[in-house]
């Protein structure tokens, strides 16, 4: 969205709309791969989605009433948060409840088990603090609808650090969730004629192809390197958005 808004001059409401379409494309394309590898915890995802979708719908309606400067400022703050979150994230399962084993899945209806190709073994985990996770998903959904982002930047750290879900399962489950969440916001924008097919089509096509390729690449590259590069890019974009919030456009 920042590229569309800052570099291509697309009005920010249309940029948010196109961004949400791209989020749906990215989610659908990557979720296919994650599902085939058994990484998506559908039960957990659908449970958290109850509040996340609600938040996205509220955010979608609220965004129409916001002005460009306010949205830019909000987006700058979020980008800064994303950059810090990505930079500080640690490697590994990230949970004391997660364990690599060859045994069955732990008790609990939302718990899960998947085969970790990097570890070469099955990882079983249980899910804690579901009510808190539901509240955070509501906030993540609101951000998604308001700003045209996926909400995963909030959900993945929450699932990992708060609920005890291993990073790979959290990222895959979040990928599934953000597609559903973005559909709500994107539909609102689409019905308000804010999705320009001439802009959305190439972006969505690129997102479909990029997500498919990215899902394959992600297992080969170092997660630490990827996170740090992305953090640097996000900080630059946050600075550009902060300038835009004060009426300074870098085109």
């Amino acid at each position: 969205m920042p590229f569309l808004s800052l570099l291509m001059g697309v009005p920010i409401h249309e940029a948010v709309a196109v961004s949400l379409v791209a989020v749906v494309a990215t989610s659908s394309s990557s979720t296919v791969g994650f599902l085939s590898r058994g990484l998506v915890n559908l039960r957990l995802g659908l449970t958290l989605e109850t509040t996340m979708t609600f938040g996205a719908a509220l955010g979608g309606f609220a965004s129409v009433a916001f002005d460009q400067e306010a949205l830019s400022a909000l987006f700058a703050v979020l980008l800064g948060f994303m950059a810090l979150s990505l930079f500080r994230r640690t490697e590994g399962p990230g949970s004391a409840d997660a364990s690599a084993s060859g045994g069955g899945a732990p008790a609990g209806r939302l718990s899960g088990r998947f085969f970790d190709q990097h570890l070469g073994s099955h990882v079983s985990y249980s899910v804690a603090r579901v009510p808190a996770g539901l509240v955070i998903s509501l906030v993540a959904g609101g951000m998604s609808g308001l700003l045209g982002i996926g909400g995963g930047v909030v959900n993945v750290p929450a699932m990992t650090m708060l609920m005890g879900v291993p990073m790979k399962a959290a990222a895959a489950t979040s990928s599934f969730m953000i597609g559903l969440t973005a559909v709500a916001g994107a539909t609102v924008y689409y019905l308000h004629d804010l999705v320009d097919p001439a802009v959305a089509a190439p972006v969505a096509l690129g997102a479909l192809l990029g997500a498919a390729g990215g899902a394959r690449l992600s297992s080969r590259l170092s997660g630490t390197v990827l996170r740090r590069v992305l953090s640097a890019v996000l900080i630059l974009l946050a600075m550009q958005m902060a300038l835009a919030a004060f009426g300074v456009r870098l085109r």
């Binding site: 559908l42 979708t53 718990s111």
Partner: protein, 95 residues
């Protein structure tokens, strides 16, 4: 290699398989339409491609709801229903 949800086992895998197939079909069809809309001067292809793209996750959600109901997994089926109702209410309110 697949997610093994407690109490679900093969049933959980079947839901994941169906959801994956619906998303795969949606991504494939939408991708073909969006590409043809870029290659040919047919804007309607882009419009339909975007609609297909937005419909695929919703269809997958509906299929998951039906499968969880047939498996009598009421908590997750209820969650699917709530999400569908919120999505439907959003579309209705926006229209």
């Amino acid at each position: 290699m697949r997610q093994e949800a407690p109490g679900g086992g093969a049933e959980g895998r079947s839901v994941a398989t169906v959801v994956a197939w619906i998303l795969r079909a949606g991504v494939g069809l939408a991708g073909a339409l969006l590409f043809s809309g870029l290659a040919l001067p047919v804007q309607v292809a882009q419009e339909v491609g975007i609609i297909v793209l937005l419909a695929a996750p919703a269809l997958a959600l509906g299929a998951a709801f039906v499968l969880y109901v047939t498996q009598k997994d009421w908590p997750v089926a209820g969650a699917c229903l709530v999400v569908m109702l919120v999505l439907g209410a959003t579309v209705f309110a926006a229209a």
